[in-house]
């Protein structure tokens, strides 16, 4: 049980509450210099920015950080998020002053070191995914998806195949998939899965045709199971003239064991902040590198690192005239890419294969423990991949204890909740992904906590419903937050 947050109960005021007019961090001030702004363009009133000493700022944000859960402090069995350890070495070497101080438009002659890292990362990602080309520029998984669908669209249009404007997406897909397809001006066709969690092939046969631009799949799927009929799906979609897009959110399950390129995918996006351990940072930055097969090579988003003999340079519009274009102001999230590079070098050839193995071992071990304790897997006949789903529908029916209640009560035990209510089609679900970096004792502790909560649900469900108790705040009123929007601090009237 986590009783350590008692001091946090004295709520941390906002930085504005701490401000006092005239207070400042003098050591940070450049000397005053005269600047001539035309009077009609001059700012008249100072913006509302904090006026605090440097110590006050440091203390405030350090204390705020202590109100957070994080991988460095808690286990996060968040399905589909791959919350593995973020190695500190990756941070340290990505933040060497020379890398940190480099302007993106500085001469490439002065950037051969960092460009070598990017180029080698491109090559390693090609190797590990079985693809022919990689672009590192998309700044998150969702941007990677956008690039992927845009490339598929560009491919068909280049061949005069303008009628192909439909993208097939499984019902269980992550919300970014249909959102991305819409952003690319495509129509979304959703197809169901069968009771075993595989895509419904009959439904697919029914919708695939001359209007199919492609299908977006995750494998293992968002249901935590391997798409066993991937070969048939590939035949059906390619046969109808469509392309296959792979959402790499679950790449951790198969890293080193199966390569998406070998499964017939034409384009894939990778979440470097999942599979390749770059930090989540409280909501980003991520990086959504894309890999393509030969068909889509001309359309890769730019810029890409190329190599002329020993010299590295950026390939741009002149080198890839059919590129779908630029997705960012410069070349993407460089610092994130360096962290992924360092991680892949430390994991190395053999380590890469172990990741899939141990992620799968950990997930199946947890699944076995939960089964033994009487929890209900959503797909009981299937192996877990790197993740699996439990459904709380029996607990909800018998005791009124929902997945949300379990999630909130777990926080009191010092575990971040698993992913809840995703995928949408499993009622009261918890999607659990331990990752390979967790030790057996941690998994056992988590299983024991879930078992204790399950007992509590039967004996005193009210206790669950009021959770969490030991965190800086109790459950928050979402309805009030949305109805009475308080989105910026205002001084007391």
């Amino acid at each position: 049980m986590n009783d350590t947050n008692l001091t946090a109960a004295a709520r941390e005021p906002t930085i504005f509450d701490l401000s006092r007019s005239g207070r400042k961090a003098t050591a940070q001030m450049p000397p005053p210099m005269v600047a001539h702004v035309p009077p009609e363009l001059r700012r008249r009133r100072r913006p509302l920015l904090p006026e605090v000493s440097e110590l006050q700022a440091v203390r405030h944000y350090t204390r705020l950080s202590q109100l957070n859960f994080s991988i460095d402090t808690e286990f996060y069995p968040l399905g589909s998020c791959t919350m593995k350890y973020n190695p500190r070495g990756c941070n340290q070497y990505a933040m060497l002053p020379e890398f940190l101080g480099r302007h993106p438009l500085a001469p490439v002659a002065l950037g051969q070191g960092v460009l070598a890292c990017f180029h080698e990362l491109q090559e390693m990602l090609k190797e590990v995914t079985g693809m022919q080309g990689v672009s590192l520029t998309p700044m998150a998984g969702a941007q990677g998806e956008f690039a992927g669908v845009a490339m598929i669209r560009a491919y068909h249009r280049a061949r005069g195949d303008l009628a192909r404007n439909e993208v097939i997406v499984p019902e269980a897909a992550h919300g970014t998939n249909p959102a991305t397809a819409s952003m690319c001006g495509m129509k979304v066709i959703e197809i169901p899965c069968n009771a075993e969690g595989d895509v419904d092939l009959d439904a697919l046969r029914h919708v695939v045709g001359p209007n199919t631009a492609g299908i977006m799949l995750t494998n293992p799927s968002t249901l935590g199971v391997f798409e066993r009929t991937i070969a048939e799906i590939e035949t059906l979609v390619h046969g109808a003239g469509g392309l296959l897009y792979y959402d790499g959110a679950n790449l951790n399950a198969i890293l080193g064991k199966v390569r998406p390129g070998d499964m017939g995918f034409d384009v894939i996006h990778m979440n470097l902040h999942k599979t390749f351990s770059t930090p989540h940072g409280g909501g980003g930055p991520g990086a959504g590198a894309v890999g393509v097969g030969a068909r889509l090579l001309p359309y890769l988003p730019i810029p890409i690192v190329g190599r002329d003999g020993d010299a590295y340079r950026w390939l741009d519009e002149r080198d890839l005239p059919a590129s779908i274009g630029r997705l960012s102001g410069f070349m993407g999230n460089a610092g994130v890419l360096l962290r992924a590079y360092i991680y892949m070098r430390m994991v190395g050839r053999d380590g890469m294969q172990r990741i899939g193995e141990y992620a799968t071992l950990n997930a199946n071990y947890l699944l076995a423990r939960f089964r033994q304790a009487g929890f209900e897997p959503a797909y009981p006949t299937r192996r877990a991949t790197h993740e699996f789903i439990l459904t709380m529908k029996r607990e909800a029916r018998e005791h009124g204890a929902t997945a949300m209640d379990f999630a909130k009560r777990l926080l009191d035990f010092g575990y971040h909740a698993p992913t809840t209510y995703f995928p949408l089609l499993v009622p009261e679900c918890l999607l659990i992904e331990p990752t390979e970096t967790e030790a057996k004792e941690t998994l056992d502790g988590f299983a024991d906590a879930m078992i204790a909560i399950q007992r509590e649900a039967a004996e005193d469900v009210g206790r669950l419903k009021g959770a969490p108790y030991s965190l800086p705040v109790r459950r928050l009123d979402d309805v009030r937050a949305a109805k009475h929007l308080d989105l910026t601090w205002k001084p007391a009237a």
Partner: protein
């Protein structure tokens, strides 16, 4: 194996609990034909010591040139405390704050950030960040189309004086949704967007007009006139701004009669290092009337079960994980860590510090321009008021000049010749508060040498 803690005993016990003989058995649902061969293209594992050494060698090879490049990313001093705090594990390795009770640190930081950015830009509400300024402008154009119900044309006026990469990015991201971008020329004498080019569209259905301030050349635009014109046409006005400049310049919420409708920009100048191009973050602010059309996460303050104030993500129904195909955007992960850095940066520098940074940057750029234009073959392209960048015209191709300067350890600026060929050879230069008079003298001396002429007296 790196980062895998299992002992042989652990593995044995776990396999026994699962009821299989070997780890391989757990992959029995995967068709054997799909199994990958050994990954010979990946080098063998390196220890942290080995990879650390390689990275240090590569960094040493790249070195640290004296940099005078702006063009969308700006070198400013970042107080040491900013990254000392932001790389704390509780911030660095925290997840997206979906479980609000376990994320009050992140959520309160976002709320404070939203407050600062809304005020800095003179608007009413901010989101929690987008990927960067360029993609942020694409999102702003899409948002304007959603928000401007009266306009059906989907036509957006886009000045050429807007950052060329931003324009390319907007086309790549928003071009798929039937938006049409009408190019608006600039006055080659002043470097400002040409008002008669804008006026040509009077009376037509314009969905939005984009105004960048300062524009790509660093030149200050007549923002009041452009904003009022846009509103008179029934268009929404999108401002693209430099956040440091807002310490000194009138914020977009106060442009024209009633202020602009959407503000975006690159947040990198606020506490984020140049870092070879990213990660940066985009900011977006708007008026309350458009808040439901704004993409990205938003944090709101509310109460918990005990009536205690707390923070939570709100208005999530607009986002991809709920609205799916009808979402305002597909954005999921954004740039949280950088937004946190910006918040701490702004808290430490405060309003006066930001003013000092802005003023010093303007002053140093003026000093740089004066020093460089003393050299024969270098002159200002425009003399109109500017913020902290200037476009220079050279008497010869800029590429080779920059290559030569690189050999002197100087990153001299951005070669803008390809973007604006009608202006001839042009170089965009920038000096921020990080540059001293000595640095400027070093650059001037090197350029004088490279151009092969002595400096004029």
């Amino acid at each position: 194996m790196a980062f895998i803690p299992h002992t042989d005993d652990d593995v044995r016990q776990m396999l026994a609990t699962i009821g299989v003989e070997r780890i391989e058995d757990l992959f029995d649902e995967i068709p054997p034909a799909l199994r990958a061969a050994p990954l010979t293209g990946i080098p063998p594992a390196a220890s942290e010591m080995e990879i650390g050494r390689l990275m240090s060698e590569r960094a040493a090879r790249d070195g640290r040139p004296l940099s005078f490049i702006g063009a969308g990313a700006y070198e400013h001093h970042i107080p040491a405390a900013v990254w000392a705090i932001v790389t704390r594990g509780e911030i660095y390795s925290a997840y997206t704050p979906y479980q609000a009770e376990a994320s009050q640190g992140t959520l309160q930081t976002i709320y404070e950030y939203q407050t600062m950015l809304a005020s800095l830009t003179g608007m009413e509400v901010s989101n929690a960040s987008l990927y960067d300024g360029a993609s942020g402008l694409a999102e702003a154009c899409l948002m304007a189309v959603r928000a401007n119900r009266r306009s059906k044309s989907l036509r957006i006026l886009m000045p050429r004086a807007v950052n060329p990469t931003y324009r390319k990015c907007v086309q790549a991201i928003a071009g798929n949704q039937n938006l049409r971008f009408e190019e608006i020329g600039f006055d080659p004498a002043s470097g400002q967007t040409a008002f008669d080019a804008v006026e040509r569209h009077a009376g037509s259905d314009v969905t939005a007009i984009v105004i960048q301030q300062p524009n790509f050349f660093g030149t200050l635009e007549d923002v009041d006139r452009l904003t009022d014109w846009g509103h008179k046409q029934g268009a929404l006005v999108i401002a693209v701004v430099n956040p440091t400049s807002l310490a000194l310049l009138k914020p977009p919420g106060e442009w024209g009669e009633r202020g602009v409708d959407i503000v975006v920009g690159e947040g990198q100048p606020l506490g984020v290092p140049l870092a070879a191009g990213g990660p940066y973050f985009g900011f977006m602010t708007t008026r309350m009337e458009h808040v439901r059309q704004m993409p990205g996460r938003i944090v709101g303050r509310t109460l918990d079960l005990d009536g205690r104030p707390g923070f939570t993500l709100t208005l999530q129904a607009r986002e991809q994980h709920i609205r799916r195909g009808k979402a305002t955007s597909n954005i999921c992960t954004n740039q949280g860590l950088l937004m946190s850095a910006a918040t701490i940066y702004l808290a430490i520098v405060g309003p006066e510090g930001l003013e000092r940074v802005a003023s010093a940057s303007m002053a140093r750029t003026a000093e740089l321009v004066a020093a460089l234009t003393k050299i024969k073959g270098v002159r200002e392209a425009f003399t109109t008021p500017r913020f902290h960048e200037a476009l220079l015209k050279l008497d010869r191709p800029v590429g080779p000049v920059l290559d030569e300067l690189a050999r002197h350890g100087i990153a001299g600026g951005y070669d803008a010749s390809a973007d604006f060929p009608e202006l001839g050879p042009t170089l965009l230069v920038c000096a921020t508060e990080t540059k001293t008079s000595g640095d400027i003298a070093t650059y001037a001396a090197a350029l004088g040498t490279v151009l092969g002429t002595a400096r004029a007296a």
